[in-house]
Subunit: 296 residues, 2 copies
C-alpha cells in the first residue's frame, strides 16, 4: 500500500465522487478507478459501495480511512521532524591541533557558522598525531590532520594546504657543531632535535635512509612547539612545519636554514570517516572546504 494511494483514497472518501476526486488528484478518471480497484483487491474487500448515482464508504472503507489518515499525518510529522533534526540537532565535533585552530580553521569555521548557524559545533584541540585515530574511533566527527603517507581504509582526506617542512637553528649558536644561518646543513654532523614519532620524523628518516646518513640525534621530544623551544635554547637543529614556526612566539629567536635538504612537504587537510561523511553536518563542512580550496 502506497502513500500516494492512501492520499487518493482519502480524497475520494471525502468527495464521494470519482470525477471530482480524480480532478483533485490530477489523475484521469480511469486511473482513479483502477487505483481503488487495486486497493480493494489487496484487501479482498470493497472499499466503496457504488451505484450509478452515489458513492459511499463500506465498513472496510471506514477502517481504511482511519488508517490512511494516521499514516499520512505521521508521514508529514516524520518529514518535518527529519528536516528539523537535520537543521537543529545537527552537531559537528572537530579535532585539531592548536596551530590549526589558529591558522587553518578560523576562516572555515566562520563561513560554516554563517551558512549553517544551527549546527552545534564542538572544537577539541590535541596532538595532531592523534587526529586520525580520533576519527577512526568515532570519538570525533572531523579532524584537521596531516596526510598519512598511505591511504587509510574507510577514511577520507581533503587536502587544504601544503606546508613545507623546514629546518631551524638557534639564532645564536649554542652547542658545538650547531650551524649558523648561511652554513650548509650537514645532517651527519649537526646535532638534531627531533620528534619521537610522527610524520615529520618519518619523512626525515626516509630521507636519511635514502642518502645513507646516520644522524646525530641530540634529543627526541614530542610536539612541534617543544622542538622550537629546544632549538631556541641552542640544543641543535630542528625540523618543523613552516606554519607552526610562523605561529610560534619564538619565531624570531630561531632562524630558518635555507641551504638544507628538501623534505616532501606536509599535506594538511580535513579528515573524516566514510560513514561520517554521509551525515549532513559533516558533509556540509566538507563541501564548504572543497569550495574554498577550489576557489584558491
Amino acid at each position: 500500500m502506497d502513500l500516494r494511494e492512501l492520499e487518493i483514497f482519502l480524497t475520494l472518501a471525502e468527495l464521494k465522487h470519482f470525477g471530482r476526486a480524480s480532478q483533485a488528484c490530477n489523475l484521469s478518471p480511469s486511473a482513479l478507478t483502477r487505483t481503488i480497484q487495486r486497493m480493494e483487491e489487496k484487501l479482498e474487500q470493497p472499499l466503496f459501495l457504488r451505484d450509478n448515482r452515489t458513492v459511499t464508504l463500506s465498513p472496510a472503507g471506514e477502517r481504511l480511512k482511519a488508517y490512511a489518515r494516521l499514516c499520512l499525518n505521521e508521514w508529514q510529522s516524520l518529514r518535518s521532524s527529519i528536516r528539523n533534526e537535520q537543521a537543529v540537532t545537527g552537531s559537528l565535533s572537530i579535532y585539531a591541533s592548536i596551530t590549526a585552530v589558529y591558522s587553518l580553521l578560523p576562516e572555515l569555521l566562520e563561513s560554516f557558522r554563517e551558512r549553517y548557524p544551527e549546527v552545534q559545533l564542538e572544537l577539541r584541540t590535541g596532538a595532531a598525531e592523534q587526529a586520525v585515530a580520533q576519527v577512526q574511533s568515532g570519538e570525533i566527527d572531523l579532524a584537521v590532520a596531516a596526510f598519512p603517507d598511505g591511504t587509510r581504509p574507510n577514511i577520507e582526506f581533503l587536502p587544504i594546504v601544503t606546508i613545507p617542512l623546514i629546518f631551524i637553528a638557534p639564532r645564536v649558536a649554542g652547542a658545538a657543531e650547531v650551524p649558523v644561518p648561511g652554513d650548509r646543513l650537514d645532517l651527519s654532523r649537526a646535532p638534531l632535535v627531533l620528534p619521537q614519532t610522527g610524520l615529520s620524523r618519518r619523512r626525515l628518516d626516509q630521507w636519511l635512509k635514502e642518502h645513507r646518513i646516520t644522524p646525530n640525534i641530540t634529543s627526541e621530544v614530542s610536539g612541534n612547539e617543544a622542538i622550537i623551544a629546544m632549538v631556541r635554547l641552542g640544543c641543535g637543529v630542528g625540523i618543523v612545519p613552516q606554519l607552526v614556526l610562523e605561529r610560534s612566539p619564538f619565531r624570531d629567536e630561531v632562524v630558518v636554514l635555507q641551504d638544507a635538504p628538501v623534505l616532501k612537504p606536509y599535506q594538511v587537510g580535513l579528515c573524516t570517516s566514510k560513514r561520517n561523511l554521509q551525515r549532513a553536518s559533516v558533509k556540509a563542512f566538507w563541501q564548504l572546504a572543497e569550495e574554498r580550496s577550489m576557489a584558491a
Copy 2:
C-alpha cells in the same frame, strides 16, 4: 512510500547487512540497494551510514524505523479487523411476504445459516408489493419479490421460482354467473375479485386489453389471502399465484379453473440494490441462491 519498501527497510534496519536482508526479503542485492536509495532520495536524507564494513542507522533512519513499525503494525491490525468484521458483524436484513417466509425462504435460510453462522439475520415480513420499495429506500438489504415487468435502475433480481397465476372459483357457486369447475371461464361475464394494484392485476389488465374485453369486477381488495377469502365466500372468480393458494388454509374450499386464460407467470426471486450486492453478507446470500437455482 510503500508498505513493501517499509518492510524491506525494517529488515535491513534489524539485520544491518545488505546481503542477508536482501535474502530475507527474497530480493536481489541490487534491488535492495536501490530501494534504500530511492527512500533516501524521497526523504532527501541518508537512512543508513555505510562503510565497507558495517551498516548503521542514521538519526533519520531511526525516525523512519519507528514510523515503519507503526505503519506495518497498524496495517496488520487493519487487515485482521477487516477480516473479522466481514465475518462477525456482517448483518443481513431480509424482507419477504409471509408466503415466501414459509415456502421459499426456509431452505435458503437454513443453508445460509449453516455456511455463515456468524451473520446476524433479521427477517421482516410484509406486503410482497412493497418489497422493491423497501430495497430501494435502503430500509432493507434483501427482499424476496416478484419480478416487476420492466427492469429497475440500480436494482438486481435473481429469479428463483416461476409461479403460475391461476384462476380460482368457490367450490359451491354463490352469486350469479360465478362459474363452477369444468365451465369455460368467460372473463367478460364472470364476476371478478381482483387486487387493486400489483403484478397479477397488471398481468390481467394486459391480457384483457389485448383481447379487448371489459371485465366485470365485483370487488377490489388488497392481498392475495384476501382474494382467496372473498372467493371462498362466493363473491366471484379470483386470481392468485399458485404458491399462495397451496399455502392457504382455504385451499380446499376453492377450486382451480383449468379452462381459463393463461397469464404470463409470476417470477419470484431475490431482489437487492447494486450497492448492497457489494456487501459481503448480501453477496454471500445471493451466491448461495444462485448455486441452488443452478443445481435445480
